[in-house]
């Protein structure tokens, strides 16, 4: 791996949020109803934070080149990801930089995730170990 990891881009549509709600069991209304999301002061439906984290997990797994390599994974949700009810939805971009490779084979990665040019996570990081 080089120091800068290949950015990964993921499209997110309303259909993705519905599918994630069903698969995860998180049926919070702010992830499927504009009406109820705006009632609590949101611009409209937003992605589940854990869906965004799952996409970042895909990026980390891709960088690691192994499905079981993530040993630590941490994010702070700093800004919501609004998902408009359009065919295109929105897009989350995930990039990473290797911060450290420890003597015992642990690779520490600092992660940036953006949507529409704005950072949606802060202090996001992962540690990877080839098992």
């Amino acid at each position: 791996m080089s120091d800068t990891l290949a950015p990964q881009t993921y499209r997110v549509t309303r259909a993705d949020l519905i599918r994630y709600a069903g698969a995860s069991g998180d049926f919070n209304v702010i992830h499927w109803s504009d009406r109820l999301a705006s009632r609590v002061g949101l611009p409209g439906v937003i992605a589940h934070g854990m869906y965004t984290m799952a996409l970042v997990g895909r990026a980390v797994t891709t960088w690691a080149g192994a499905a079981d390599a993530v040993v630590e994974f941490s994010v702070r949700f700093s800004r919501p990801v609004p998902v408009p009810d359009t065919d295109e939805g929105t897009q989350v971009e995930v990039s990473g930089v290797i911060k450290e490779v420890t003597g015992d084979g642990l690779t520490r990665v600092a992660i940036t995730a953006t949507c529409g040019g704005e950072k949606v996570l802060s202090m996001a990081s992962a540690a990877i170990r080839k098992r």
Binding site: Y10, D16, R19, Y20, G22, A23, S24, G25, D26, V40, G41, G49, M50, Y51, M53, A54, L55, G57, R58, V60, T61, A66, A67, D68, V70, V71, E72, F73, S74, V75, R76, F77, M123, R131
Partner: protein
């Protein structure tokens, strides 16, 4: 109303075991668009040393969310869920979750704080197999936004 600080340090009894199904892992992996064969194909998972399909890194949230609900739904805590947003999430893995695991969660409130009119609660959930083998520990920080709507 601030959160009840006496919850800090409290640990809840272990949850009933959650039996991780192969189809649930596949469903979750499909929902996040993760097509690694080890999430879908038992043979591919066996080839890297696991007895059945392995779960993507954030899958444990499916299991830990129910354990967390027991805490945040406790009226004594004083959390108004309509004002709650997810602040932080962390996982430290001993190994990935594997289909066939019967997982037990033990949750502890690690921290309750107040800053800028908002309330914060951090819970740790230790996820083990029924026989006590550690699998993953999850930390979740929830933010209850101030009532003035900031």
């Amino acid at each position: 109303m601030p959160l009840d600080p006496s919850f800090v340090g409290r640990t809840w009894p272990p949850t009933e075991p959650y039996l991780v199904g192969r189809e649930k892992i596949r469903e979750f992996a499909r929902a996040i668009g993760a097509d690694n064969p080890e999430y879908h194909d038992p043979e591919a998972a066996r080839a890297i040393g696991y007895p059945d399909v392995v779960a993507p890194p954030t899958f444990p949230t499916v299991v830990t969310m129910a354990a967390g609900t027991r805490i945040i739904d406790d009226p004594e805590l004083g959390l108004d869920y309509t004002r709650v947003v997810h602040g932080d999430q962390s996982f430290v893995y001993t190994r990935p979750v594997v289909a066939g695991d019967a997982l037990v969660c033990v949750s502890t409130v690690e921290e309750i704080s107040q800053r800028g009119g908002h309330d914060f609660i951090t819970t740790r959930t230790d996820v083990t197999t029924e026989s006590g083998e550690p699998v993953v520990t999850a930390w979740s920080k929830l933010v209850q936004r101030g009532e003035d709507g900031r």
